[in-house]
């Protein structure tokens, strides 16, 4: 249960309809593996992220990045190993943990027939936000969509949908923010705006885990980079200097070895 002494956490918990949800400071993967029949998506992955950092998950296509995020979001359960939310060892995957997780996935996860405002209000209510109306207005202003709040989402461009989807993922101010390729389809201005937003979340003590192919957009954003190759975690190290160089340095060794790629 939530520590009563910290005022920020209690204030946030009160926001979730007066019901205490489990708050946590870190996300820990303990020897997690996930198989689909004979196909190994992830193999013996162990790492942890703490509050106030942005961790990037990098790797080629098919390395298991999306699976890792899906596991962190509790949508899939591990075939072996466990995932801990917080130091108290909360393996419990109930609604209390979900209240603190926000995920932006590949698909926009928005209803095309509803307007932007209706979409946000629906998800705000669903995630237990105390005042859905004002949260929705704030979210619309943040994503510069206020003028188009009453248009159905199917009329939006790809970039607008992505911005709205980000607001949807963050509407309940989650502790753990998971983003799957968030920079896809965003123009330069939006990418910078997203990066600043994530930095702001980091200052607020959120745990941010994202996957990306776009080294330019993520330049200078990541604190640490987790490198996945073929379902295995190569290393998780702080990023110093250019992200592309960091990636090439660490994966170059693996690509060069006699490891047969499947």
């Amino acid at each position: 249960m939530a520590e009563p002494g910290v005022s920020a956490t209690t204030a946030k918990n009160a926001m979730i309809s007066g019901h205490f949800s489990d708050d946590f400071d870190c996300l820990v993967f303990e020897d997690v593996s996930r198989y689909f029949g004979r196909m190994r998506a992830l193999s013996h992955v162990s790492f942890s992220c703490t509050a106030g950092e942005i961790v990037g998950v990098l790797g080629p296509n098919g390395a298991g990045k999306s699976t890792l995020l899906a596991l962190a979001s509790t949508l899939i359960t591990p075939s072996a190993g466990g995932i801990r939310y917080g130091n108290q060892g909360t393996h419990e995957r109930g609604g209390n943990v979900r209240a603190n997780i926000g995920m932006l996935s590949h698909d926009t996860q928005l209803y095309p027939e509803l307007t932007a405002r209706e979409n946000l209000q629906f998800f705000a209510g669903l995630f237990g936000v105390q005042d859905p109306a004002s949260c929705t207005e704030a979210a619309l202003s943040r994503s510069a969509l206020r003028g188009r709040g009453d248009e159905p989402v199917m009329k939006f461009s790809r970039g607008m949908r992505q911005r709205l989807a980000l607001e949807r993922a963050l509407i309940h101010d989650p502790k753990l923010v998971l983003l799957d390729e968030p920079f896809t389809g965003l123009d330069d201005l939006s990418s910078k705006s997203l990066a600043n937003r994530l930095r702001g979340l980091r200052e607020n003590g959120r745990i941010i885990l994202l996957t990306t192919h776009d080294f330019e957009a993520a330049e200078g954003l990541l604190d640490r980079a987790a490198l996945l190759w073929d379902g295995e975690l190569l290393n998780v190290e702080p990023v110093t200097g250019s992200l592309r160089d960091h990636y090439v340095n660490h994966t170059g060794k693996v690509a060069g070895t006699a490891k047969v790629s499947r």
Binding site: H19, M103, S105, D107, E118, F123, L126, F127, G128, P152
Partner: protein, 229 residues
């Protein structure tokens, strides 16, 4: 606390589905049209002396409901599968069975609209006095539709992530809902007789109520394990 959260989430989902439906009218119109076509096809299929058979009316009504219902269920969940919205719903903090209840109520509203049109139509085509006992008929239709939809909503939800889901939904649904069809058809036939055996009709309604209770409970119980991977 969790009870109000449950009801709130279910209500949000019903409202959302009805809003989408009111705006696009896709499901209502296509399902309604399909149900009417069904009735026509069966009316042409069962003929005696170049006229549709009056006794077939009860059976045709329930078959049309079953077929239209299967179509509506498939489309209702296709909406959640498109753009992967179902996963966003599953991430909500509320108990997952609330999603089931919300979708169930939305599907029932849709089928109610279809039935309100189909029943008078059948009375017209087959010249059957189907409205002599409107309350009993209404109760029979309500309990039967609820039974069919309760199993159908669960199966449609669990098949969202399966292959061949379009054909597997009817394959799984029809054997399980045979008791509902039997009860519905027998009850309706009894209501069409000149001398209505009210006790027997009540017995069929009783079985349907029992069916509804058992299968809604079972669905609520199994929804969470069936939706998690």
């Amino acid at each position: 606390m969790t009870a109000t959260r449950f009801i709130r989430v279910a209500w949000l989902i019903v409202k959302k589905d009805l809003t989408i439906e009111a705006r696009s009218r896709e499901l209502v119109l296509t399902t309604l049209f399909f149900a009417v076509s069904c009735v026509l096809v069966f009316a042409f299929g069962f003929v005696r002396d170049q006229n549709p058979i009056g006794e077939a009316a009860a059976g045709i009504l329930w078959i049309a409901i079953a077929f239209a219902g299967t179509l509506a269920l498939g489309r209702a969940f296709e909406r959640e599968r498109y753009h992967d919205v179902l996963h966003a719903l599953l991430l909500a903090p509320a108990d997952r069975p609330a999603i089931y209840i919300g979708k169930l109520l939305a599907v029932i509203c849709l089928l109610a609209v279809v039935e309100i049109i189909i029943v008078p139509l059948i009375s017209l085509f087959f010249q059957t006095p189907i409205f002599r006992h409107p309350w009993l008929l209404g109760l029979l239709l309500a309990c039967g539709t609820l039974g069919f939809a309760s199993v159908g909503t669960l199966f449609a939800a669990m098949l969202v992530r399966a292959r061949s889901r379009d054909v597997l939904l009817p394959v799984l649904l029809y054997p399980i809902t045979i008791p509902v069809i039997i009860a519905g058809v027998r009850g309706t036939v009894l209501l069409l007789q000149p001398e209505v055996d009210v006790i027997m009709v009540r017995a069929w309604i009783g079985m349907l109520v029992f069916f509804d209770v058992v299968f809604i409970t079972l669905s609520l119980w199994t929804f969470e394990p069936l939706m998690t991977d």
